[in-house]
Each structure stands twice: as C-alpha cells, then as structure tokens.
Symmetry: D2
Subunit: 139 residues, 4 copies
Amino acid sequence: MKGKDESQHVDVKLQVRYAETDQMGHAYYANYLVWFEVGRAAYCRARGLTYSKLEEDDNIFLPVVHAGCRYMRPLRYDEEFIVRTRVGELRSRVLTFCYEIMSVDEGTSYAEGETTHVFTDDQVRPRRLPQAYRELLDG
Amino acid sequence: MKGKDESQHVDVKLQVRYAETDQMGHAYYANYLVWFEVGRAAYCRARGLTYSKLEEDDNIFLPVVHAGCRYMRPLRYDEEFIVRTRVGELRSRVLTFCYEIMSVDEGTSYAEGETTHVFTDDQVRPRRLPQAYRELLDG
Amino acid sequence: MKGKDESQHVDVKLQVRYAETDQMGHAYYANYLVWFEVGRAAYCRARGLTYSKLEEDDNIFLPVVHAGCRYMRPLRYDEEFIVRTRVGELRSRVLTFCYEIMSVDEGTSYAEGETTHVFTDDQVRPRRLPQAYRELLDG
Amino acid sequence: MKGKDESQHVDVKLQVRYAETDQMGHAYYANYLVWFEVGRAAYCRARGLTYSKLEEDDNIFLPVVHAGCRYMRPLRYDEEFIVRTRVGELRSRVLTFCYEIMSVDEGTSYAEGETTHVFTDDQVRPRRLPQAYRELLDG
C-alpha cells in the first residue's frame, strides 16, 4: 500500500519548445507558469476532473490569486523534464497546488512553485467546491 | 486631401519583448502573427470598431481561416518597429488584412503578411457583416 | 517495405493548453506555428538531427522565410491532436516542411500549413546544408 | 523636488492583446510575468541601461531566481493598464524589482508582484554588478 506522500502527486513529461527559449538560451521564466498549468490540468484529469467539465457543466472556475516560482537551474531547448504536481492545501474556498520541475531521472530539480486558486462562477463570484470534487482532488 | 492608399492604413508601434526572443537571438516567428493581431485590432479601433464590442454586443466573431507571413530580416530584442495594417479585401463574408512589419523610420521592411477572416457568430456559424460595419472597415 | 508516402511523415501528439486558448474559447491562431515547430523538431529528431546539435556543433541555423497556415476547424482546450510533419521540398539552400494538424483518430483535419527555411550560420549568412544531413532529412 | 518614493518608479502603458486572453475571457496568468519583464526593461532603459547592452557589451545577465504575483482583479481584452516598476532591493549580487499592474487612472490595482535576479555571465557564473550600474539602477 502506497503512503499518502507517494500517491498524491501526478507527473507529466514535457520538452522545452523552441518558442519557449529566449535569447539567453534558456526557457523563458513565464513559461514555468504555463507548465504548472499543464501539471495541474494533468493532476485534475488523473483525479477524474477536467477544467472543461468544471467550467461548462458546473460553472466552476479556478482563477489564480497567487503564483510563485523559484528557479534553481536553467532549462534549455529540447530538454525533457517532469512537472510533478500535488495538492498543497484544499479548503472549501481555496486550493493550493505545489509543483516541482525536475529532470526525467528525477536527479535534478530545475524549479519549484505553487499556485493558489479560489473557486468562482463565470462572473468571478466566490463559490464553494462541491464535496464530491473535494474528495476527488484530495486524491 | 489624402488619396485612398495613404489614408487606408493604420500604424501601431511595438517593441520586441524579451519573451518574444528565441535562442537564435531573434523574435520568434509565431509572434509576428500576434503583432498582426495587435495591428488589426488597432485598425478596427481607429475605424470605431473593437473586437470586444463586435463579440459582446453584436455576436460577430472574426476567426482566421488563413494566415501567411514572409520574413525578410530578423528583429532583435528591444527593437522598435511599426505594424502597418490595411484592409486588403472586404466582402460580405470574407475580410483580408495585409500587414507590414517595418522599422520606425520606415526604411527597413522586416516582414509582411496577411490574414483572412470570415464572419461568424459564437457558434462558428457564418454570418454577414452588417453594412454599417463594412463602411467603417473600408476606411 | 513501406512506400515513400508512408515513411516520410513523423507524428507528434499534443494537447491544447489553457495558455493557448483565447477568449473565443479556441486555440489562438499563432500557436499553430508553435506546434508546427514542435512537429519539425520531432521530424528532425526522428531522422537523427536536433536543432541543438545543428546550431551548436555545426553552426547551422534554419530561420523561417515563410510560414502559412489554413485553419479549417477550431481546436478547443484539452483536445488532443496530432501534428503530422513531412518534408515538402529539400534543396541545397531551401527546405520546406508541410504540416497537418489532425484529430488523434485522424478523422478530422483542423489545419494545414507549411514553413520554408533557409540554411544560415549564426550571423544569418546563407549556407549549404551538408550532404549527409540532406540524406537524413530526406528520410 | 521629488522625494525618493515618487521618483523611483517607472511606468509603462500596455494593452491586453487577444493572444494574452484565455477562454475564461481574462488575461492568462503567465502573461503578468511577461509584463513585469516589459516593466523592468523600461525601468532599466529609463536609467540608461538596456539588457542588450548589459548582455552584449558587459556579459552581464540577470536570470530570475524567484518570481511571485498576486492577482487581485482580472484584466480583460483591450484594457489598457500601467506596469509600475521600482527597485525593491539592490545588493552587489542580488536585485529585486517590484511591480504593480494598475488601471490607467491609477484607481484600480489588478496585480502586484516581484522578481529577484542574480547577476551572472553568459555561463551562468555569479558576477558582481559594476558600481556604476548600481548607481544607475538605484535611480
């Protein structure tokens, strides 16, 4: 039986696109937030939830209220990497995801960060996340 | 009195962002299409139309059906440039914009391109552009 | 033995990112050029070439001189799709890639396009592609 | 005579591009980091420094080691806004910029954030910022 720490994260493998490099030869820093988003979408999907379904069927949106990233080592064009995503905190109105960007062999950590989201409807009014979804996300 | 050719274009001045560079040290090629869009939004605005108004008030969308760009000389970080936009063709169902990316002194041409749009509603069903808007766009 | 038509293309599977959507709810049109680039990088890699190696080891760059895309049907968030890339034309100084963006079951075509590249050094001076690489690319 | 607080920031006016929206109809969250970069480039330029000069002439790079953003209110397509940038902390090896994204009339604050940079050469080895530049940046 897996412990909670092992079972909670979801990994997705990506590769640095040419479009994501900058003239320093590194992946441009804003792209890490795009990768975080790919990570949390993968996390939700692995838990049986998709943003599309949340938005269209349930009128639940997850706007970001805070994002942070620490950049440890640069990533270069064509490098493969893993986005490891887990839920940091899940309350009725607030959800925090934590991310680690690491090498495919998991030996090198390139960056880590977190995003905090609130639950709203499409008019950006606060909502509570239905209990069924809380259980799914809490994985 | 200005002739038709002179009066028809709208210029907008932009500057290459670091995010838009790639590891070759040039502005990445997909960004030219973003700049074209900034150019045609400026064109529409100068004619008294905004995408927001078209989309929200009139349920008119302008999805792109074709885009093309010829790249003559690379643009580098921090360089200022002009996006010159004019309407190439305007019919009841189809609209073509033409663009030129040039230096601020207009002496150097970096790229030129065109985008073709159809008029649809938000369900991507074809629509005709109202005559009042045709006259505005035709500048 | 596979015929030339079957063997020549390389497929890569992608998924529309939230960052790639626009307020129309579709994948924004400039992103197709980013996906084309992912496609041609995959094509080159499958032939034993990488941009990194070309740029760093051989001082060969492939700036784009023309790009075009026809958009047939919109792609939406989270949709998976295939970028199918093949070489359209390969001469000593010019290389054209052709792309098709299609559904994973290959039943729907979303877009098709092409990019034309020249071979240069890092000072954007024209170069010829070494014969060994021509044979690799010609697949 | 202006006090230090008033004189220290540099404002740049931008407008939300269609490319920067997402299907929620808001500016996508990673773009704020792009705007921060536009803000700090404007800040440096106003102080007589450009990234291009730093990188090419002095072999000084400013990779980001941390970025954070708090999102207070969504920005929508076509909205104009100000990126207000100031130096938060400037030491021999570390530089922090602070940003505020606000409405053109300065009445609404959309977001605020900060980025922390170290000084390196093009091999990502730590460097000290020359004293002359420190004085320029400290505005």
